[in-house]
C-alpha cells in the first residue's frame, strides 16, 4: 500500500479499502464467505468503472479470529498503509474492538456481522450494521407463526443449545425468549464454547428431554456436528431452527442430506427481487461458479452502503471526508440487495429477517406469508 498516509492521492490511483477477516480460527468459515462477498463487490464495482471513477482495491488481512490481531490489523491498515476506507470484520467479538480503532482514527465503519445488542451499546457514531435486523429480531416471524398455531398443534417444549458467541446467542435467545413468553417450556438451555467439537452429551440431554422445538444458536460447523449428534441419538423434533448453518452451500452434504424441514433465519434471499440483488446473484454466480450465501450477501451489502455514501459525498480518503460519509449515512436510506436500509444514531438497522426452510432438498423462504416461496412444513419430518 502507499505510505502517504491519509490523503489518498490523485484521482487515477485506486481507492484502497482495508479489511481484516477471520480467515482462520473459530470463525474462518463465515469469514471466508464475507471475503468472497467483498471480492465480488469490488469486482462488480470495478467493471462498472469503480467509485468516483477510481478503481477499488481490497487489502485483506487475516486476524485468526483474535481480538488483538483484529485491532493491530486495522491499526496497521489505517496508520501504516493509509487505506482510504475500511470495511468491518466478521463476528461481534471482533467488530467491537475494531470499530473503536476506526472511531479513534475517525474512520467510517460499516460492518456485515456485528448484529448482537451490545455492539450498539458502545456509543460508536461511526458504526453501521449492513443488514436488515439485529440478532434478537431474526426469528420474529417464526415465533409469531408458532405461537399463532392452534392450541393442539402448538409446540409445548423447546431445547436450546447456543455457541458462546454474542451473535449466535442473540438469534437463538431472541426466539427462546419469545417462545417462553408464549408459554412454551424451555427444557434444555446449553451454551458451548466456540471450539467445541464433541456434541454427544449436549445432544444426549436434548434427546432425553425430547422437546418439540430444538433451537441451535450455531455458526456453521457446530450446527452440523450438533445435528449429526442428534441424529445419532435418533431424536426427532417437530421444529429444528439453526442460525446461519443451514444456509451454507455444504450444509446438506455435511449432514447426509437429511435436511428436510430444517429452519434458518436470513436477512437476504437469493430470489428477492430488489434490482441490485438480481444483478448481484448472477454476477456472483458467474464469478464463483456457485450462487452466494448470506455471509456473501451481507458483505456485498456493506460494500453497497459505503459505495452509496462515497458517491453521494464525492470523496474517499482519510480525514474530514470520513465524517462527511458518516453524517450522510445517518441521514439517508440506501438501497441494497437486502432492500432499503436506514439506521438509528447507534447504527441499528430497522427491519426483520426472513425465515427459510429446507423444502424438497432446497432452501426456500417460508415466512412471512407475503414473501414466501413455499409452504411452512410443520411438524418437521424425521432426519
Amino acid at each position: 500500500g502507499d505510505d502517504g498516509g491519509s490523503g489518498g492521492g490523485g484521482d487515477d490511483d485506486p481507492i484502497v479499502i482495508g479489511v481484516s477477516l477471520p480467515l482462520t480460527g473459530d470463525f474462518s468459515e463465515p469469514g471466508k464467505g464475507v471475503e468472497r462477498g467483498y471480492e465480488a463487490w469490488a469486482e462488480i464495482v470495478n467493471e462498472q468503472g469503480g467509485l468516483l471513477g477510481r478503481q477499488v482495491e481490497l487489502k485483506i488481512l487475516d486476524d485468526q479470529s483474535n481480538a488483538d490481531r483484529v485491532v493491530s490489523d486495522y491499526e496497521s491498515l489505517i496508520a501504516q498503509d493509509g487505506v482510504d476506507l475500511v470495511f468491518g470484520p466478521f463476528s461481534t467479538r471482533l467488530v467491537v474492538p475494531s470499530a473503536r480503532v476506526a472511531q479513534e482514527y475517525g474512520m467510517l465503519f460499516v460492518e456485515p456481522a456485528g448484529a448482537a445488542a451490545e455492539v450498539f451499546e458502545q456509543g460508536f457514531e461511526n458504526l453501521f450494521y449492513a443488514a436488515p435486523a439485529v440478532a434478537d429480531d431474526h426469528y420474529n416471524y417464526l415465533a409469531d407463526y408458532l405461537l399463532s398455531l392452534p392450541e393442539g398443534e402448538r409446540p409445548k417444549t423447546a431445547a436450546v443449545a447456543a455457541m458462546d458467541d454474542p451473535f449466535a446467542q442473540g438469534t437463538a435467545y431472541g426466539l427462546r425468549d419469545k417462545l417462553e413468553e408464549g408459554g412454551v417450556e424451555i427444557l434444555v438451555d446449553e451454551v458451548y464454547p466456540p471450539n467445541t467439537t464433541d456434541f454427544s452429551v449436549i445432544a444426549a440431554k436434548i434427546a432425553e428431554s425430547n422437546a418439540d422445538v430444538v433451537i441451535g444458536g450455531s455458526q456453521y460447523q457446530d450446527g452440523v456436528n450438533l445435528i449429526i449428534a442428534l441424529q445419532q441419538l435418533d431424536y426427532q423434533p417437530k421444529v429444528a431452527a439453526f442460525s446461519t448453518a443451514p444456509t451454507n452451500p455444504e450444509f446438506a452434504a455435511a449432514i447426509g442430506n437429511q435436511t428436510e424441514g430444517i429452519l434458518s433465519p436470513t436477512g437476504w434471499s437469493p430470489t428477492a427481487s430488489f434490482p441490485s440483488n438480481v444483478e448481484f446473484v448472477e454476477k456472483y454466480t458467474e464469478i464463483f461458479g456457485n450462487p452466494p450465501a448470506e455471509d456473501e450477501a451481507n458483505a456485498y451489502t456493506t460494500g453497497q452502503v459505503v459505495a452509496a455514501a462515497v458517491e453521494a459525498v464525492g470523496c474517499a480518503e482519510q480525514g474530514e471526508c470520513q465524517q462527511q460519509l458518516i453524517d450522510w449515512l445517518h441521514e439517508n436510506t440506501v438501497d441494497t440487495v437486502v432492500g432499503p436500509l436506514s439506521w438509528d444514531e447507534a447504527g441499528r438497522p430497522s427491519g426483520a429477517h426472513l425465515i427459510q426452510q429446507w423444502v424438497g432438498g432446497e432452501i426456500k423462504i417460508v415466512l412471512p406469508e407475503d414473501a414466501k416461496e413455499a409452504d411452512f412444513i410443520y411438524p418437521k419430518p424425521a432426519w
Binding site: 498516509g5 485483506i60 488483538d68 493491530s72 496508520a79 473503536r100 479513534e104
Partner: protein
C-alpha cells in the same frame, strides 16, 4: 592464566552489558520520536510488553530452571484483574493496576505451593494446565468476566488521541521493564540468586546444603508472577479489549519462553534481546504473510533453530564466537602426584585459617603459570 581468563571474560561481558544498557536506553527513549507512524509505535509498545513478560518469566525460568509454559496465566490475570477492578470498583486505572498486581500475588502463592511440588516436565504440564483452567473459567463465567465476548477496559487517558496514547504507554512499559531488569540484576548477583541457581542444578543437594529451596522457589515464582501480572495489567490499560482466548493462550506463554531462551536465560538482557528479535519477526511475518498461517511456521522454525543450534541463547553464542579467537586454553590445570605430596606436606603443616590461605593462594597462582608451561611441554611433566 587459567584463573584470570574467566575474570577477563567477566570484565568483558560487564563492558558489553554497560554498552548495551546505554545504547538500549537511548534507543528506547528516543523511539517514540523516530517512529514513522502510530502503527510502528504501537508495535514498539507490543515489543516492550513482550520484553517485560519474558523478563518476568525469567525470574522463574532463568534462575530456578523451572520452565513454565503457562505464564500467560499471570499475564491474563493481571490484565483481567485490572479490567474487572476498574469495572466493578470503578477505581482509576492505575490504582486498579496496582491492586490487580496484589491479587496476582495472592493467587500465585497457593498455586506456586501446589505447582512447585513437582519438578521438570511435570511442572511444565502443570503450568500449561493452569493457564487452560483459567481460560475455561474466564471463558465460561460470563456474568463476571464477560465470557468469550471479552472485557472492555476504559482508557486511563480518555482524552488522548491514539498516537499520544501509544507514546504514553510506551514510556510506562519502558519504566516497568527497567524496574524488572534492575530487580533481576540485583537477584542475579546476590546470594539469593546463587541459591536459586543451585536449585536449577540439583535441588536435593541444594537443600542438603541448607538452602530453603521450597521458600526460595516460591519467592522466585511469585516475583515472576508479579512482574508478568504488572505487564498484563499495563497491557489491559493500553489495549482496552481483553479476550480470554488471547489473554490465556499457551502461545503467549511460549513466546515468553522462546524470547528468554533466544536471548539467553542466564543473562540480564537475554529476554529483552529475545523480545526484540521475536517481536520484530512476528510483526514482520504478520505484515508479509498476514493472510496465511505461514507466520506460525516461521515462528516454529525460529524456535527450532534456537533450541537446536544455540540452546544457551544468542548472547552466549556470540560470547563463544569471540572465545574462538582467543588462544585456546584449558581451564583444568594438571597437577602431578609429586606436587600433591608437596602440598600435602605444606598444608598439613600449616594451621587452617584465612591468613595462610591468602598467602598460599598467592603462590598457588604462580604455580599455575609454571604448570601450564610444562604441561605444554611433554618431557618436563613426569619428572
Amino acid at each position: 592464566m587459567a584463573p584470570d581468563a574467566p575474570r577477563r571474560r567477566r570484565r568483558w561481558s560487564r563492558a558489553v552489558s554497560l554498552a548495551l544498557l546505554v545504547v538500549g536506553a537511548a534507543l528506547v527513549l528516543s523511539f517514540p520520536f523516530i517512529a514513522p507512524n502510530p502503527y510502528i509505535l504501537s508495535a514498539g509498545v507490543v515489543i516492550l510488553n513482550y520484553a517485560v513478560l519474558s523478563t518476568g518469566w525469567n525470574f522463574m525460568g532463568g534462575f530456578t530452571g523451572y520452565i513454565s509454559l503457562g505464564h500467560a496465566a499471570y499475564f491474563g490475570l493481571g490484565a483481567y484483574g485490572t479490567g474487572l477492578i476498574v469495572k466493578y470498583l470503578e477505581l482509576p486505572g492505575f490504582v486498579a493496576w496496582v491492586l490487580a498486581a496484589l491479587v496476582v500475588v495472592a493467587i500465585s502463592v497457593p498455586v506456586g505451593i501446589a505447582a512447585l511440588r513437582v519438578r521438570g516436565a511435570s511442572f511444565v504440564i502443570v503450568s500449561i494446565a493452569f493457564v487452560l483452567i483459567l481460560l475455561l473459567v474466564f471463558q465460561s463465567w460470563r456474568e463476571f468476566t464477560g465470557g468469550s465476548e471479552g472485557l472492555i477496559v476504559p482508557r486511563p487517558f480518555p482524552d488522548l488521541l491514539r498516537p499520544e496514547h501509544h507514546r504514553a504507554f510506551f514510556y510506562l512499559f519502558a519504566g516497568l521493564l527497567a524496574a524488572a531488569l534492575v530487580a533481576w540484576w540485583v537477584i542475579d548477583r546476590s546470594k539469593f540468586g546463587t541459591a536459586l541457581k543451585s536449585i536449577r542444578e540439583d535441588e536435593d543437594k541444594a537443600r542438603s546444603l541448607g538452602v530453603p529451596t521450597t521458600r526460595y522457589k516460591l519467592i522466585a515464582y511469585v516475583l515472576s508472577a508479579l512482574v508478568t501480572g504488572l505487564g498484563g495489567g499495563l497491557y489491559a490499560l493500553w489495549f482496552g479489549d481483553l479476550d480470554p482466548i488471547f489473554q490465556f493462550s499457551i502461545l503467549i506463554g511460549s513466546y515468553m519462553v522462546l524470547m528468554a531462551l533466544l536471548g539467553g536465560v542466564r543473562h540480564l538482557f537475554g529476554p529483552l534481546l529475545g523480545a526484540l528479535i521475536v517481536g520484530i519477526a512476528l510483526e514482520y511475518f504478520k505484515l508479509e504473510f498476514g493472510d496465511t498461517q505461514f507466520h506460525l511456521v516461521a515462528a516454529g522454525l525460529l524456535l527450532g533453530v534456537v533450541v537446536l543450534f544455540m540452546p544457551d541463547g544468542v548472547i552466549p553464542a556470540v560470547g563463544q564466537l569471540i572465545d574462538r579467537f582467543r588462544p585456546q586454553q584449558t581451564s583444568i590445570r594438571d597437577v602431578s602426584a609429586a606436587e600433591l605430596l608437596e602440598q600435602n606436606r605444606r598444608s598439613d603443616a600449616s594451621a587452617t585459617g584465612a591468613a595462610d590461605a591468602r598467602e598460599a593462594s598467592g603462590e598457588a597462582s604462580t604455580r599455575d603459570a609454571s604448570d601450564v608451561s610444562d604441561a605444554s611441554d611433554p618431557k618436563e611433566v613426569t619428572r
